[in-house]
């Protein structure tokens, strides 16, 4: 009997997560509340059973996430029993940082990238696990499972370590940290299939519902709170939409969809002709956008 596909991906991820705990003194999981984070959380619960995961989860809150995400975030640790840390870049808040006033690039850099760096330094984390996948974006397709970061948290794609077999080099120098991506070899389809099979709870924004949206720059932006300025020529419409990925609400486009359950989503995926990151503004705000952000310490 051969190990079926999802079991193999699951085993690989659990092996990687355990490897981090076995070799790093102070690891953390970056928890972004999205579907990949939910899968990663589930795998972490599995990896150390019957014990709980021996590391905390960290959410870097940009203060512009969907309200439903924050409710979900505050509920999950109680239900599953894990430690959640929340970090906000207070400097950014003091400056009144936001995507509408400062643009997506500056907002993401200050609230997300800088916020993350602050949090890693504050708690002295030596290794950070995250749910990024290689099929998301082509600079991610180049990244190792164990990816070393400099003192300044930068990623240098030309100096990546060779990574052979399952024999990982987990050594870092003073001040350097490691980013680890246990879901590297998963596709978006694998993620949904696994969520279905394992009945993993996810934020309801992934399911189609009638939501207030505004069409802007070719994207459907949901009006999630009163901070969203509505231009005179714009109209707020109630539309049946869902989200393929979740980030800051002003930077994340909705897609028109009728898919209200996980099987519906999987069925929809069999016909869809665009990638999930099409709805992410920060990927395309400049050429080579993702690689640049990663070099600066973004995930």
């Amino acid at each position: 009997m051969t190990l079926i596909h999802l079991r193999r991906l699951e085993a690989e991820a659990i092996h990687v997560i355990r490897e981090v705990v076995a070799t790093f003194s102070n690891p953390v999981v970056l928890y972004s509340i999205g579907k990949d984070s939910s899968v990663l959380l589930h795998l972490a619960m599995k990896a150390f059973y019957p014990a709980k995961p021996p590391f905390p989860f960290l959410h870097v809150d940009t203060k512009w996430k969907f309200r439903e995400m924050i409710e979900f975030r505050d509920r999950m640790p109680r239900e599953l029993g894990f430690d959640l840390l929340v970090h906000v870049n207070q400097d950014g808040v003091d400056q009144g940082m936001g995507p509408f006033t400062h643009g997506s690039n500056v907002h993401t850099h200050v609230m997300k990238t800088m916020g993350l760096r602050q949090a890693l330094e504050k708690y002295g984390f030596t290794a950070a696990l995250a749910g990024a996948r290689r099929d998301e974006e082509k600079s991610r397709a180049k990244e190792r499972i164990f990816s070393i970061r400099s003192l300044q948290h930068g990623w240098d794609p030309t100096r990546q370590r060779p990574e052979m077999w399952k024999t990982y080099n987990t050594r870092v120098g003073q001040g350097e940290t490691m980013r680890i991506f246990p879901l590297s070899n998963w596709t978006e389809f694998d993620i949904w299939q696994y969520i279905l099979r394992e009945e993993i709870p996810i934020v309801s924004l992934y399911f189609a519902a009638r939501r207030p949206v505004v069409k802007r720059d070719g994207m459907l932006i949901m009006v999630d709170d009163e901070r969203m300025p509505i231009q005179p020529d714009e109209k707020v419409l109630e539309q049946q939409v869902r989200f393929r990925t979740l980030g800051c609400y002003p930077l994340t486009g909705a897609v028109e969809s009728e898919a209200a359950t996980v099987p519906d989503i999987l069925r929809e995926m069999l016909t869809v002709r665009t990638s999930e990151r099409q709805s992410r503004l920060i990927d395309t705000d400049e050429v080579g956008a993702m690689e640049k952000k990663k070099r600066e310490g973004y995930f």
């Binding site: 079991r7 059973y49 099929d135 024999t167 050594r171 069925r267 995926m269 069999l270 050429v287």
Partner: protein
């Protein structure tokens, strides 16, 4: 990633079950630069309709001087995800792509062709089942073709597709194709592949990529994708003996003790006997635990936690194995090593050797020969340069458990890590253990100064602080000692006063005794430097000759003279020990600067003026000097 089916099936569950049971083929592309590796994978993705519309549209966004061929889409740009790659029009690092067709799933590694990126090619090849070796029809077999074929065979790749590419550029001539295939078959005979399947293709135009091309009527075999969907995979490692490298011991409470890991090969069932590889202790499996409940049995690839019937000593790095077919346990073995680093592999240097879960100090005791990759001929060598392959005897500080790589890829591999930079500098494939009689034991090996200091991640040095009494030598040296210690460096401070209380307590302050004082402390410093330490010597050492004698005792560049320069009246003003007062009153004979001369250094490595400076700042300046010295080495 999207999927080929255009009509959603009614029964999604049944579809998913079928989807989940498809076999996975992991393959990688290799060949020389510009043979069209990235273009081929781009073509596969494109023709199989596996590229999303926004990704295609994005190709228009990424400007590339290499993509200037009119309106055609440069398919390689789908893969070359790094800016440097798009700028240079080459692949630098391996990209992974995931393809699902109606028949099979594929994990594709697009690996670079440039020799200097061999490490990235090895990364892609280490986990693959099959290699697609591309050849440019106009060029035939090149050095890189041979090199990649050799490395693929070394890494245990059993199946090869020989993609004779750019066949359109030679007018689809059968003869050209057949000559290349014949040449390759002759060359590859030595490499022991289980199968070699040649296919004439044009990656740019799609001939024979996903379906048969009308341009090559003389070719009757399967198109590339058809072949990849159908090629028989080697059976999994379930038939091999049970191997379970212990990743960690789980002890959430006093009642539970489990060994977590991923089964490297074989199967295990509750009640089966197992042996701890390194100690030979025997026990049996009491339970196979995972989150979804206890399992009766588990096989290769599964990540489980085993509970054993007896208390045994098995921590991370050990292996639980089948009693009837045990792995080797040895501290000496022969291995093939592929070297990745720009500084060469040197026999005798201490490295860290890492297997899947074990990590030990190791050194190469003998480089038996290097393999000339172009001719597969053995050549004598003293060191391995970047991208070279050699056969070595390796000695580890403690025994490790392993199999021969040809028997088991998971338990027969290791990586070599540099102690100072932590870089992965080499990859190893174990051939066999060495018999004790042939061995040079680890402890009998020459452990020299560079081995000792490398272990400490530092360069040995003798920092010789000279200057008048009260000039601040000891204060600065103490500060520096604290800084070095905080950085995890191994340093030791030899202070004049302290040494005079012990080793040199029989010496006075006459000129002869002062010379002997310096001679002794210089010899001690030399021994300490030989032990790999950073030695701080704080001695007035007033005479040039003695300082020169000390310098000459040490290795080139190891003696660092630091002139702590404080004017006499300032020293007398500070007078920390009240000595100047006594000396000036004539109550101390032979007091340096007062009644005995001080010969200031002419060319000290560092000249430090202390007036108006904080000792801690001066210590930091010296530390920075040491750092630069380390970097320039």
């Amino acid at each position: 990633m999207s999927y080929v089916q255009s009509i959603p099936p009614h029964d999604i569950e049944a579809h998913l079950a079928q989807h989940d049971h498809k076999s996975i083929l992991r393959f990688f592309t290799c060949g020389s630069v510009d043979d069209g590796k990235s273009t081929l994978i781009g073509r596969l993705l494109y023709d199989a309709k596996l590229i999303f519309e926004d990704q295609l549209a994005n190709l228009g966004r990424v400007g590339s001087p290499g993509a200037a061929n009119g309106k055609e889409i440069d398919l390689a740009l789908l893969l070359d995800g790094l800016e440097a790659e798009r700028e240079q029009g080459i692949t630098i690092d391996v990209a992974y792509r995931y393809i699902t067709t109606s028949k099979r799933k594929f994990i594709v590694a697009d690996t670079p062709g440039h020799e200097e990126y061999t490490r990235n090619m090895v990364t892609g090849a280490s986990t693959a089942d099959l290699a697609i070796i591309l050849i440019d029809s106009r060029q035939g077999i090149l050095q890189q073709t041979r090199r990649h074929s050799y490395i693929a065979s070394l890494l245990g790749i059993r199946h090869v597709v020989l993609a004779v590419n750019k066949i359109d550029l030679v007018g689809f001539q059968q003869q050209v194709y057949e000559e290349i295939v014949a040449d390759y078959m002759v060359f590859a005979k030595e490499l022991g592949f289980a199968s070699i399947r040649p296919i004439p293709i044009s990656a740019r135009d799609g001939d024979n990529v996903i379906s048969a091309s009308a341009n090559t009527p003389w070719y009757r075999g399967a198109a590339l994708l058809e072949y990849l969907e159908a090629v028989e995979l080697d059976p999994m490692d379930q038939a091999k003996p049970f191997r379970f490298p212990v990743q960690m011991v789980m002890r959430p409470n006093a009642d539970f003790r489990g060994y977590a890991g991923q089964i490297a090969s074989g199967r295990i069932s509750v009640g089966d006997p197992v042996v701890v590889a390194k100690s030979g202790q025997r026990t049996s499996v009491k339970a196979i635990v995972n989150y979804d409940g206890e399992l009766a049995t588990a096989g290769e690839g599964e990540a489980v936690t085993l509970v054993l019937a007896d208390e045994v000593d098995a921590s991370r790095g050990n292996m639980l194995v089948a009693p009837g077919a045990r792995p080797f346990v040895a501290d000496q073995f022969q291995a093939h090593v592929i070297w990745f680093d720009s500084s060469p592999m040197l026999p005798g240097r201490s490295y860290i050797l890492r297997t899947e879960t074990d990590s030990v100090s190791a050194m190469v005791t003998a480089l038996k020969h290097q393999v000339n990759i172009n001719s597969c001929i053995r050549e004598a060598a003293k060191s391995l340069q970047m991208n070279e392959v050699g056969v070595c005897n390796i000695s580890t500080q403690a025994p490790i458990a392993f199999d021969a790589y040809t028997d088991n890829r998971a338990t027969g591999n290791f990586i070599i890590v540099d102690r100072v930079t932590n870089a992965t500098v080499g990859a190893g494939l174990i051939d066999f253990p060495l018999r004790r009689a042939d061995n040079v034991h680890w402890h009998a090996l020459e452990v020299n100064k560079s081995a000792r200091s490398a272990l400490k991640n530092q360069l040995p040095a003798v920092l010789w602080f000279t200057g008048l009494s009260g000039s601040g030598k000891s204060t600065i040296a103490n500060e520096l000692d604290r800084i070095l210690h905080a950085q995890g460096k191994h340093a030791y401070l030899l202070d004049g006063d302290n040494v005079r209380h012990g080793l040199n307590r029989d010496l006075g302050f006459t000129e002869e005794d002062r010379v002997e004082n310096i001679r002794r402390v210089a010899e001690v410093a030399k021994l300490m430097a030989d032990a790999g330490l950073i030695v701080l010597v704080s001695f007035i050492s007033p005479f040039r000759d003695e300082r020169r004698m000390a310098r000459e005792l040490m290795d080139e560049g190891e003696f660092i003279e630091i002139f702590v320069d404080t004017p006499l009246d300032e020293c007398a003003r500070r007078d920390p020990k009240g000595l100047y007062e006594k000396a000036l009153a004539g109550r101390i004979a032979n007091f340096t600067g007062v009644s005995s001369p001080y010969e200031a250094p002419e060319n000290p490595e560092l000249h430090i003026r202390t007036v108006g400076q904080e000792p801690s700042d001066l210590a930091l300046a010296i530390e920075e000097f040491l750092e630069r010295r380390m970097e320039s080495k």
